[in-house]
Structures are given as C-alpha cells and as structure tokens.
C-alpha cells in the first residue's frame, strides 16, 4: 500500500530537515520507527489515525530525513528529539509509541525529560540486555534470514522474499542500514546504562511484544515491564518482531484502548 495522499511534510529542528508523515485527528501520537524505517502509511497507522493525530517522523539518517553528522549515537538522537519536542510538540504533548530501536529511543528520551510525553508504548523494544538471552545477530543475517527471523507468517515471508525494491527504495534501505549500524552496532542494540535510569520515567507505560520474536526474544517483554514497573504487558501470538505489520489491528487496538483508559 502506498500513501493514499502525500502525508509527508518537512519539519525543521535547528538546521536539520526532518520528513514527517502525519494524518488523523484526536489525541496526538508520536511514533518512533525501528531500524527498517517507514516506507509507507500502513494499515496500522491508518487505524490509529481514526482516533488520533499520528506523527511519524523519519529519524535523522533514515528515510527522507537529512543525515546530520553531529548525531553520532543513540544519546545524540535522544537529545535531538528533545529539541524536536520543544519545537513541535502540540500544546498537550504526545503519547509516544516506539518500535524496536524506536522503543529504545523513546526510553532514552523519556529518562531525560518527559515534559512533552504523556505515556510510553514500547513495541518489541531494543535498548536493554537480558544476560543469558542474546538477541539475534541482525547484522550477520542475509536478506532471507532476516525476513524469516523478523516475520512469523511463512506466507508473508514468501511475499517479502519475492519483493523487488525500486532503485529509490534500495537507496533508502542502504541509508537506513548505515544509520542503524551507527546507532546500534556496539554495544549491540542496547545501552548498558539505560536500565538503571528507567525509574525516572514517571508516565504510564505499556509493553507489547510478539510471542515468537526472532530478534529480541519474548523474555525481554518481562524485563522491560519490570524495569518500567508496569503491569501492562501484552504478548501477541503468531507474531515475531513486527507486531505493527504482523498484527496491525490488534496492536493499534491495544494502543488506542490503553490511551483511552488514560484519558478517562
């Protein structure tokens, strides 16, 4: 599916131009994407946009956003987003949803400052290490292994394997990969100092995971829930690392109902 209309526009943060897709009305959600970036307005976003004003920026170095060299690591990216929030956050702030390294990013931002953040939903989040339960080596997998480890449904895997990116898409895939490595190669997909500061996050939090996550095993859901001191933790069956695409309706439903309860 492609964007029904062009939802992209450019937001400036300092000198950096950020591409942001945005649609819908209602309580604003800021979605922070994972390492694969966002290529289109998916059913997950459409469903959220029925009741929310959904903002989906391409992080600096991803997609159609600029790639400023001063962003060298996840800490820089978190500080950059604090600038973004100061500049662009709606009056009442955002409910933040982060997937994979976007979840990690959301936690890094919220430990620093939650002034513009009402709540945090972490989906299949990177950022922590569970000793004895290693994550998959996403950088050593070939394309086929990646698809098989990141997606549960064999039919969807097959479709993805057949898909041929256009040259423009291929260029963005490379750009996303380079930035992903910059942010997450070492320490691999986590920040050893993050866990001890998660107690600083005072806003409501929820954790969503795929039961068969082939990259960040399901055991990490419990680790996050404990570290965030939340009992809102959902594990989706027949789902791997991409609940947003594998279980779009259920994932969106979990988010809207969580936010609904907060509003009431």
């Amino acid at each position: 599916m492609t964007d029904p209309i062009n939802l992209s526009s450019t937001y400036r943060v300092g000198d950096v131009k950020l591409n942001v897709r945005r649609a819908g009305q209602g309580r604003p959600i800021l979605f922070l994407h994972g390492a694969g970036g966002v290529t289109e307005w998916t059913p997950f976003f459409s469903q959220l946009a029925k009741s929310h004003d959904v903002w989906v920026p391409d992080h600096p170095g991803f997609g159609m956003s600029e790639d400023p060299s001063f962003i060298k690591n996840m800490s820089d990216l978190a500080m950059f987003y604090l600038d973004f929030l100061d500049t662009h956050a709606p009056e009442g702030g955002f409910d933040v949803v982060g997937h994979s390294i976007g979840g990690w990013l959301a936690a890094e931002i919220a430990t620093r400052n939650s002034q513009h953040i009402h709540s945090l939903t972490l989906v299949s989040s990177a950022g922590l290490r569970l000793e004895g339960t290693p994550m998959g080596d996403v950088f050593i997998w070939n394309a086929e292994e990646s698809i098989k480890n990141l997606i549960f449904d064999p039919l969807v895997q097959e479709k993805r394997l057949q898909a041929q990116p256009t040259p423009e898409e291929a260029e963005i895939i490379v750009k996303n990969k380079f930035t992903f490595a910059k942010l997450a190669w070492y320490p691999r997909l986590f920040n050893p100092d993050l866990k001890k500061w998660l107690h600083r996050i005072k806003v409501p939090t929820q954790v969503i995971w795929g039961e068969h996550d082939g990259l960040i095993p399901q055991a990490y859901a419990k680790l996050w829930a404990e570290a965030l001191n939340t009992d809102v933790c959902h594990v989706l069956s027949e789902c791997s690392h991409s609940p947003l695409n594998e279980k779009p309706a259920e994932t969106a439903q979990l988010i809207t109902s969580f936010l609904g309860k907060l509003a009431s």
Binding site: F139, I140, W141, N142, A181, K182, W185, Y186, R188
Partner: protein
C-alpha cells in the same frame, strides 16, 4: 622492482567438508576445527619457509593480520615479524598490515612497530589497513566509524613517531594525556608506511596525497582491476600535481611456477581452489558491514571482487576454478616465461615497482612451496629485480 615473499599462514588442516556447515571460515567457524599439534606444525613451517627468503634473494618478507579465521593464523602479525627479525639479517620485514581501527588505543600499534623497527635496525615496513568487514563482526568495533578511526589512528601514530613526547592527543575517537613513545622509531623520520587495499576511491585519494605519497599495494584482484587501481593512483597523483614513482605502486598475487603449464596447474590446483572457495568464504553481510565503505566505493568493490570467487559474494555458489582465476589474472600460474610476461604486461601499463608474491597459499604443502619459492627466486625474481 622490489620483490617480497608472503603467506597468509592458513590453517591447512581445516576439515573443508565439515566447515561448509558453517556460514563462513571466518568469525563463526568453531575453533574446535583447530588442532594445536597441526597448527604448531604450520607455524613452524611457515616461519622456516619465510626465513629462506633472505638466502633466496628476496627484498623482503610479508606478514599480515586476520582474526578468528582458518584463512590466516596471524591475529598478531608482529609476533611473526619479531620471529623473522631473528631469522634474517638484511631483508625488509613488511607487516601488511595492522588494522588500525580495530584497537582502542592506537599507541599500542605505534609502540609495537617502534620496537620491531629498533630490533631490526630499521628493516620494518609498516602497513596500515582497516581490517576486513568480518573483523568488525569479530571485534565489535563499529564499521560506521572505520574510516574515521583509521585516519585519526594514523595521524596519531605518525605524530607519536615524529614529534617529541610527551604530548597530548585531543581527538574524536582517541583522547590521551600522555603520548610519549619509548622506544622511539629507528628509521627517520619513521618507517615506510604502505597501504594494502582492494582499491577504494577514498583510500586512493588519501594515500596519494602529497603529504603522504604512501605506496599502494593492490591485493587479491583480477589483472584488470589491478591495472585500473594502479592507474587510478597515478591519475590521482597527477591531480595533486606530481608523478607517482614506481616505488609507490605495488601488486600482491598468488604465484605458482613449474617447468610446464600442466605441472604448475596440477600441483597448485587444489591449494588455489581451496583458498578461493573454502577459506575465502565471506557472505556480503560479513564482508561489507554497513558503513565499512561508502555507497560509491561499495559499488566499485562489488565489481572488482567478481574476481575473487564465490567467497566474496554469498549467493553465487559456483566454485571458482583454477582456469577461471588464471584467465582473470587473479592468480599467476605457469612457466617462468608466462608468469614473467604477465607481470611485465602490468608493469608496462602501470610502472609497477613492488611485487608481492604469495608463494604459499591455501593448502599448498611445504614441499611444493619450497619448490615454488626456489624456482620463482631463480627463474623469475632476478628479471623483476633488474627492471627499473
């Protein structure tokens, strides 16, 4: 022309059939494949073979660095260099090279080279490399910062070799309060620095810069790519306003020589095909992790590497035959005359001045290596050395 003798020191007893169950002979090949008795024998043999280079008339011997692989048993090449210093008196010892970005304090490398330079009374050639992609998997150093770390480590090492210490280093990747090498380098202003490479654009631009003019050594490439890269180096030098000297232009290739073509092919076939198909098995994700090269360079490397076998390129499962490798000119196998012709052809087109002959490769036995070295040294090398 200067002629140097080189081996990667492969672990020759690797169980090839069993190794195929693993992603690669690098990083993930379990070290239970390594038998210390057989490995110790390999080390002893290789040091003996390289030590013969001096009486055979070579200008130098070469060692290099690779990690966690059966492809080469020199994670610490300076240890072998140190042994060779004791076994030789006159010839150069080229470490081609140490992988600068892979260490967290480049001063360790500066110190080791300094020691070797003193211990050899100035016979060291210091090769600087970035390490291959697989080594960013094995060391966990971030490939995205590979170029930056290489350049900063290089600047730091050269300053440590040439400026009085102690001084402070205030860098992006390295910050040191006291840089103060004991011992100082023996050669003045510092040991020659060589840049072995498969020809990235950035590397050529950097190496040719008039403030460096570092000799460039094209490794493991098809003849056309060797010529193209050396010409690119010369072009770049001209853009900087000077003529590249032949001493700045080098080529490293496996060589096997015998009285007849048939004999050369039959004696080298298994070893060469093992090197390119069984030891150099690197899927793309391991060879070129994200950020290790620029996107532009990536495209160029992919073109060059069509020469080096399935190995380089995951996916293509066709074995690289000896015939194919000979046709591409990636390996030089034949009689003294045919091999000389091939090197002369590259010399004529590029003004090549350094030739690094890999005379032991893959599973090649001590006996065949010895014969190969002796014949190369008597029939081919003198003619190369007499070329301007």
């Amino acid at each position: 022309m200067k002629v140097l003798n080189f081996t990667l020191m492969p672990y020759r007893s690797m169980d090839v059939a069993a190794s195929k169950e693993h992603r690669s002979a690098w990083v993930v090949l379990p070290n239970t494949f390594y038998d210390p008795e057989k490995g110790a024998h390999d080390y002893e043999s290789y040091i003996d073979l390289l030590a013969q280079s001096e009486p055979l008339g070579f200008d130098g011997v070469c060692v290099n660095e690779h990690h966690q692989t059966a492809y080469g048993l020199m994670p610490a090449p300076n240890l072998i260099a140190s042994a060779l210093i004791q076994r030789t008196k006159k010839i150069k010892i080229a470490i081609l090279g140490r992988a600068l970005p892979l260490v967290n304090n480049p001063i360790n490398i500066a110190e080791e080279f300094s020691m070797l330079d003193n211990m050899s009374r100035g016979r060291i050639i210091a090769g600087f490399v970035r390490g291959i992609g697989a080594e960013y998997h094995s060391t966990t150093v971030n490939p995205f910062y590979s170029h930056e770390r290489f350049h900063e480590a290089h600047d730091l090492i050269v300053k440590a070799w040439t400026q009085p210490g102690p001084f402070a280093w205030e860098g992006e990747h390295y910050n040191l309060n006291y840089v103060n090498l004991w011992p100082r380098v023996y050669q003045q202003p510092h040991p020659p620095i060589w840049i072995p490479s498969q020809g990235s654009i950035e590397t050529i631009e950097w190496a040719t810069d008039p403030c460096r003019k570092y000799p460039f050594l094209v490794t493991f490439s098809a003849r056309e790519a060797v010529i193209k890269n050396l010409l690119a180096y010369k072009d770049q030098a001209q853009k900087y306003g000077y003529e590249a000297q032949s001493s700045q232009l080098g080529w490293a290739a496996p060589v096997y020589v015998a009285d007849t073509l048939e004999q050369a092919m039959s004696e080298s076939r298994a070893a060469i095909e093992a090197l390119f198909n069984d030891y150099l098995t690197l899927p793309m994700e391991m060879l070129l992790p994200p950020g290790y090269t620029s996107v532009e360079s990536l495209k160029k490397i992919i073109a060059t590497k069509k020469a080096i076998g399935r190995g380089g390129f995951g996916g293509a499962n066709q074995r690289q035959s000896l015939e194919r490798l000979m046709e591409l000119g990636t390996v030089l196998v034949g009689t003294p005359k045919t091999i000389l012709n091939q090197i002369e052809e590259v010399k004529a087109k590029t003004n090549l001045g350094n030739f690094v002959a890999m005379l032991q490769f893959g599973t090649l036995s001590n006996e065949l290596t010895q014969r190969n070295q002796a014949m190369f040294a008597s029939e081919i090398m003198p003619k190369l050395q007499s070329m301007a």
